[in-house]
Symmetry: C2
Subunit: 259 residues, 2 copies
Amino acid sequence: MLSKNKIKQLRLLHLKKFRRSEGLFVAEGQKLVFDLLDSGMKVREVFCSPELITTVEKKGFNPKNIHSSQLVDLKKISQLKSAPDIIASVQIPEHSLSWEEIAGDLCLALDGIQDPGNLGTIIRLADWFGIQHILCSEDTVDLYNPKTVQATMGAIARIKLHYGNLPDYLQRANEMGIPVYGTFLEGENIYSAPLSPNGIIVMGNEGKGILGSVEPLIRHKIHIPNFPANRKTSESLNVAMAASITCSEFRRRMTPRKP
Amino acid sequence: MLSKNKIKQLRLLHLKKFRRSEGLFVAEGQKLVFDLLDSGMKVREVFCSPELITTVEKKGFNPKNIHSSQLVDLKKISQLKSAPDIIASVQIPEHSLSWEEIAGDLCLALDGIQDPGNLGTIIRLADWFGIQHILCSEDTVDLYNPKTVQATMGAIARIKLHYGNLPDYLQRANEMGIPVYGTFLEGENIYSAPLSPNGIIVMGNEGKGILGSVEPLIRHKIHIPNFPANRKTSESLNVAMAASITCSEFRRRMTPRKP
């Protein structure tokens, strides 16, 4: 049984302030909760319909932290259109920022992404293309926002996000000789520009793009050309789509060709 | 002044049934409404704050169809988080399907896309890459859904969507020798697969992918490889992101290289 008080506590986790103070976030639905149980992330409590209890137990989860719950109660906590039959509270992990790892790999940096859905799909994209670290400006939407968590489709368990001062991060990258890329209208055609196997790709805010304080720290300006050139088109691509094309092109260069 | 009755009429256009019977849809916000006024689409009426009236008139729009409106009334019609200062009712255009145009160009086909935001960003993507026609299965979300209209960011004025029986469309394409592509886990690596300058790229439903009735009509199965190969990753990419990468790769092959 879910007590009124527990429902209230879980609902408070929809707010960043309470996620921070409790060190917890909420995950909804079988796909996501089972992925998190399998991933090694620290799931605190599971609330699910009676039929799912055995499945959760089989994943080695401590039975005393599994709570049989009615759909009507899960619905009170859920932020999904149709209420899920399982919800979990999960401990927010602590990631330390390893510049050695950043230097040797391809990473993303997000300058003020505001839409939780965009952040979530970018995390899913990073996971697809083996990008393990994402540097985020402090005003980037919170990773543990329920909409972001859902949009990651489980990738949240594998990708490390680091929130901090983005210009400071990029300054350090420049000092260490890590190539920093960003997409700009006046950038070099991404299909023919030289792209390195490692580096940081900066993606800008949905409306404002890359901020003036960040732009000077980007040494490699690239551009996704529209087709055919000079035809009237949309002003820009959605940031998650631009990120997709950019990451794909970096990885394409690294993908072994068939003989 | 917006009458109660007019507000009610405009709100009814949020429903597909009424859009169909009235032949109208609603567009919100300066960016979108101004784009539509400039595009040659048939804007029926404009409702805006008094300060915007002159701007709308300057676009050659008939002053008798411009209605000075209070924000509080526009808010009653709006589906956006923050109410816009301009809303327009726009005539739904009739597009005829030209197989000659389809045959000579790159097109998209959508097999049951359900999320209005995904459809909207795919239309914006099509616009970026000069894809003018999108074939949609009958169960694909409605193009004139308010969320789709907003997500297109104006691209709705330039792209032609054709709703109909998708297997019939693809059957016809096969008979005409138009190459039909689709993304599948067992497909050929998109980075090395032969891709033609024309053809139809089929994208599947968010959850179910490409349906069994459609799959046999796809002669060219392609795949976006994750990186590095064989690493544990997300099961799939979001459909709009997969569409982005696929369209980008088709257009990359066509983009002139610098000498």
